[in-house]
Structure formats: C-alpha cells, structure tokens
C-alpha cells in the first residue's frame, strides 16, 4: 500500500530551491521557441552566440551584483563604475599613451578600490548600502565628467585586437570577451559553491545576526562582496570598452538596473541568502533574447525592451514573494 504522499514524493518534483531558476529556464526556452517559430533565421545558433557577444559586459557586472544581492545588499554604482573604467582606460591609453598592460590592471584596481571603500563605509558605519552606493554612483559619474565630457575613441593595438578577433569553431564564432565573461561566471559559481567565502556570503544573506553569532567573519565577507562587485564592474567596463572601442561618461547609463533585473529574473532572492550565478547567466540571456526578439520583429521600437523588462521584473518578484511566503 502506498499512500498518496508517498506517490507524490516518488514523482520527482524539482527541489523548491531550484524553482526560480527553472522558471527562468522555461521562460528562456519559451521565448527562444517563439522566436525560432516566427523567424527562420532565429533558430541559427549564431543568434544565441550574438546574445553573448552583445551582453558579455552585462554578464560580468551581473555576476558581481549577484554576490552583493546574495548578502542582502544592493550596489547602485555598477553602471557608473563601468563608465569610469571605459573613460579612464581611454584617456590613459590615448591622451597619456600608457601601454595596455599597465592600464588594464590599473583600471581593475580602481574599480576594486571603489568597491572596497563603499564596503567599508557600509559595514563600519552601518549606513544602508543603497545610499552609500548611490553616492558612489555620483562619484564615479562625476569623475568621468572631470576626465572629459566627450567620447574618446580607443585605437590601442591590444584593445583593437580584442575587439576584432573572433574565436571560431566551425561556422560559429564568439569574441574573446565572451570567453572572459564565461570564465568569470565559472569562477564565481565555484567560489559560491565550494569556498568558505561563498558559504559565508549565503550565511550573511540568510541571517546576518546569526552569521555574526556563529563567529563568521561578517566584516571581511561584506567588504569582500562589494570589492568583488567593484572588480566585476571594472572588468565589465573593460569588456565594454573592447566592444565599443571608446570611453565615454555616458556609457552604461542605467546598467545597474539591467544588472539588478538580470539577477532578480535569474532567481536570486532580493532579501539575500538564496540564488545561483547560473541563474544570473540565464537572466542576462533572457534580457538579451528580449532585445533580439524586438530587433527581429522590426515593428516594435526599442523602448518596448524597457517595458518588457519592467513587466518581467514584476512577475519574477511576485514569484519570489509566493515562494518565500510558502516557506513560512
């Protein structure tokens, strides 16, 4: 005799913690299916690879944002740090004529230092992350404008080769930036799943008080998370400058919102403590496929992207509420 509950448990229901990620995956599959059914060219695998080529920088930024949101914080400065990185590298390469191998580590260091500073203020002075990173956003944008108000084109050979070279396999190709972005995703996934830092990140997001009482290094982890986000923003900025081959203070306006949207759509709980970098990867792909669909359609204007992203954000936040409400 088997009771109903036993039968139910035998049907392999997906673990509830994977539910948001699975929802994103099915949404992605659905959108891709709709696109492939309506437009013949959409089914081409290169379309998917183009999504990565066009959104590699966003992916890196969103990975950093995932760390921050997992601890229950938020980082509004990422878009500005991206812009600052493009501007700084462009001006150092072009106006100062510094070599690429000096500029590259320097801009990554600047981004990490900004993140480190914000993390310190957030932790030691106990100010809401939202307002601190807001100030960081002003600061980075302001620094961009003090470097210059117009767009600076980059013609450094290293940058140009990164922008133009293609890694080919068969008929398909990706840019080196895509490889960098995917490596970042893999490293982040490894760090979150298998290292002490990753465990601490989840623990602080789950309950900061008990994490502190358990003797976990809350201060170090919190600051590390914002430093990672700063580093990822700077790396995203470098990738964006590869993509655009220019530095401009108005690059990446509103990217913080895209990054947050990607993380949320990817199933990371905004209250912290639950989520996966893989989900963020799917979230970025959802955003990219929406853009591609709207481009393929041709009748819809670009601002529909924003409206659709807003609607998706709403649906996924609602889903989060339902899931967390059921847990209690």
């Amino acid at each position: 005799m088997t009771t109903l509950s036993q039968v139910r448990s035998r049907i392999s229901w997906p673990n509830q913690k994977y539910l948001p990620v699975l929802a994103t995956l099915s949404l992605l599959a659905l959108m891709y299916g709709v696109g492939a059914a309506n437009y013949e060219a959409f089914g081409d695998a290169q379309v998917v690879l183009n999504v990565f080529i066009d959104n590699g920088f966003l992916l890196v930024v969103a990975v950093g944002m995932t760390f921050v949101i997992l601890t229950g914080g938020i980082d509004l400065s990422v878009g500005s740090v991206v812009a600052l990185t493009t501007m700084l590298s462009a001006s150092l390469l072009q106006d100062r004529g510094w070599p690429a191998f000096v500029v590259l580590p320097l801009v990554l260091l600047v981004g990490s230092a900004l993140g480190f500073g914000m993390g310190c203020i957030i932790h030691y002075f106990d100010i809401q992350p939202f307002i601190v990173t807001l100030a960081g956003m002003f600061l980075a944008r302001g620094l961009c404008y003090t470097i210059g108000t117009s767009s600076i084109p980059i013609d450094d050979p290293f940058w140009v080769s990164m922008a133009q070279s293609r890694i080919r396999f068969g008929d398909y190709f990706v840019s080196p930036s895509v490889v960098i972005a995917l490596v970042v995703v893999l490293i982040a996934a490894f760090v979150l799943a298998y290292t002490r830092l990753g465990r601490n990140t989840y623990a602080i997001g789950g309950n900061p008080r008990s994490a502190l009482l358990m003797g976990l290094p809350v201060a170090r982890t919190k600051i590390a998370v914002y430093t990672i986000s700063g580093f990822c923003s700077a790396l995203g900025g470098v990738l964006l400058s590869f993509y655009m081959l220019s530095g401009y203070g108005l690059h990446a306006v509103g990217m913080e919102l895209d990054a947050i949207a990607a993380v949320v759509i990817g199933g990371t709980l905004l209250t912290g403590g639950s989520g996966y970098v893989l989900g963020t990867l799917l979230g970025v792909m959802v955003l990219g496929v929406i853009q591609t669909l709207i481009t393929f359609d041709g009748r819809l204007s670009s601002w529909w992207t924003k409206i659709v992203i807003g609607a998706l954000l709403f649906v996924f936040i609602l889903l989060q509420r339902v899931i967390t409400a059921r847990k209690r």
Binding site: M118, W303, K306, G310
Partner: protein, 355 residues
C-alpha cells in the same frame, strides 16, 4: 558662544547654515547676487531664479519626504516626471487649438490622473504585496522610461501653448507661478501632517510598521497614501518642467531626479530609516541643491563637477547621521582630550577617502 551651541541643537540649524553660507559665497563672485528688481511687472534676480528652477525639485522632494518617513523609498519619481510631462504635451499637441484653456486643463487633469494611478501601483506593490520599496519602485523606474517614450513615440514633442506655458514659466501678481504652486503644496502638506494626526501616524508607521498596526493604525493605507502623494507631487513637477521648456523628452526629463530628491530629504535631516520627518528641512535641502547647481554655473566651474560635489555631500551627511560613525569618531575625541588635534585631523580623511 552659548547661543550658538543652543542654536546648533535646533534641528534645522545645519541645513539653514549651509544654505546661508552657499548664498553668501555667491556674493564674492557676483556682487549683484541678492539684487531683486521688478521688470515688466515680474520679479527678476538670481534668488528668484533659484526659487523658480528649484520649485519642481521641492515638490518631488516633498513627496519623497513622506515616503521616506514611512520607512520606504520611491525611485520612480524621475520616470513619473517624464511620463506626466509626456502625456500632457502629447494631449495638447493632439488638439486643434493648442491655446484653448479647456484643452490644457483636460491635459493637466489627465496627466495628474495618470500620476495618481502610478502612485497607486507603487503603493499597491509596497503596501499590498509587501515588496521591498527599493525594488517595487525600481519596476516603474525601468518601465516608466519606456512608457514615457511610448507616449512621445520616441520623439521630443514640442508644443506651442501659452496657457500651458503659464504653469512653468508664467507670473501671477509679479510672482513666478511654479513658486506659488510649490508654496501651496507645501502649505497644504504642512497643514495635513502637522495640524491633523496624519503626520504622527506617518511617523509611527515609519518608526515601526508592525507595532503601529498592532496599535490599530492602518499602516498599509498610510503607506499607500504616501506613495500616491509622492507620485502626484512628481506629476506636478513633470508638468512644470515640460511647460518651462514647452516640450516633453521621454528619455531625459527628470533624469536622476529621484537622486536629487533623496539627497534633499537627507540633507533636510529626515532619517532614511523612516520615522521622524521635517518638511521644512526638505524644502531647505532642495534649495541647497538648487543653489549649489546655480553657484557652480555662475562661478564658471565646469558643471560636470556638480555630481562630484553631490557625492561628497551625500557621504558626509550620511556619515554624520550615522550613529555608529558618531560613536567611533566623536566619542574617540572626547575620550582622548590631551591630544585633540590628532583625532580631528583623522575625521576628515575618514570622510573623504571612501567617498
């Protein structure tokens, strides 16, 4: 000395002091800064300009004050500014006679009605479903820009309507109309919050929403009202801005207004954690920001540095407000009276490094 220390304890002392210092510093660069004259029956002068251009910010910050007082935040005000300006301009550009007063009134009512709806949406998400305010209003902040561009069809709508122009650039009895509108809204909200129990209810909800619910306050309704009020204020500001330039730009109207508004509220002494709020402080905070912008333009410093200055101001104000910062920096100074110079030189560097 004692009067100064007594004054310093007054809540609005520091905001007012900053404003006065900013205004006075303008005298060095433009001696005629405080000159106000009547030309063609209109008031003219730098001070009037600050008030006139600061009016939309005052309104948006006013709405933001109440939202922050309930413990929330509204990131969507900039988008609401753009949407309302776009809708009003679109309606006016559609009608045959752009100068008809009735048509303009219809457009204004439509735009404010839409603002009301947007506020209800935000309030519903926060109070009804219980989503964190930052995220709930983020949805409208992202989608709102798209909506505004949808209304304007991606173009900048230019209109030529003299009645509509009155809202943002007109004069009534020698006073600029936007300033008068701002004063009316300020007076109404002060009366509503300080002469009725409403203000106290808002503060109690912000202090502890759960406790006030148990005490019998309908905290959800209070929160909903705060978001609706914020959206309405943003709507009026949107009308002013679009009317002042006679055009609606879905992309750039009200861009980063939410940040300026939050900054104004914080400078005015309202705590971001909710609870006690100060409408007077917010008005002064908004004026400080507008004066800062005007000063930067008149002195001839590149306007790009405005953002840097704002970043520094936000950081310093937040640090000073933060209890743990005060404890760490100011208490340290009191405990070590023999070497008072070392910690004081410590404090400013601590403020500036991470900004």
């Amino acid at each position: 000395m004692t009067t100064i220390t007594r004054l310093a304890k007054y809540r609005l002392f520091w905001p007012v002091a900053i404003l006065v210092v900013l205004l006075l510093s303008n005298l060095i660069f433009t001696p005629s800064f405080f000159k106000i004259e009547v030309r063609d029956g209109h008031l003219y002068g730098s001070l009037i300009d600050i008030l006139r251009f600061g009016a939309p910010l005052i309104l948006v910050a006013l709405g933001m004050t109440l939202v922050i007082a309930t413990g929330g935040i509204d990131l969507s005000v900039g988008s609401v500014v753009a949407i309302c300006g776009a809708l009003a301009c679109w309606r006016i550009s559609e009608q045959g006679d752009q100068n008809s007063v009735g048509g303009v009134l219809v457009a204004v009512v439509m735009a404010l009605g839409l603002a009301l709806l947007l506020g209800l949406w935000n309030g519903f998400l926060v109070a009804g479903i219980g989503i964190q305010p930052i995220i709930a209003t983020l949805i409208l902040m992202v989608a709102g820009r798209g909506l505004a561009q949808l209304i304007t069809d991606g173009q900048i709508i230019t209109i030529n309507s003299s009645p509509y122009k009155e809202i943002g650039a007109g004069y009534l009895l020698t006073f600029p109309v936007p300033v008068l509108i701002a004063i009316v809204v300020i007076v109404v909200s002060v009366l509503l919050t300080r002469r009725t129990a409403l203000g106290m209810l808002v503060e109690s909800v912000g202090g502890n929403a759960e406790a006030s619910r148990l005490a019998g306050i309908r905290s959800r309704r209070i929160k909903l009202m705060a978001y609706v009020f914020a959206a309405l204020c943003a709507g009026i500001a949107g009308l002013m801005i679009s009317s002042n330039v006679s055009s609606a730009d879905g992309n750039n109207a009200g861009l980063w207004y939410e940040l300026d508004a939050i900054l104004a509220v914080v400078i005015g002494g309202t705590l971001l954690t909710g609870g006690r709020f100060s409408i007077g402080g917010t008005v002064i905070g908004a004026l400080i920001i507008q004066t800062l912008t005007t000063t930067i333009y008149t002195i001839g410093v590149p306007p790009e540095t405005t953002l840097l200055v704002k970043a520094l101001v936000v950081t310093i104000v937040c640090l000073v407000q933060s209890p743990s910062f005060r404890e760490k920096v100011f208490k340290g100074r009191r405990q070590r009276p023999p070497t008072p110079t070392a910690p004081t030189s410590d404090a400013p560097t601590k403020v500036e490094v991470p900004a």
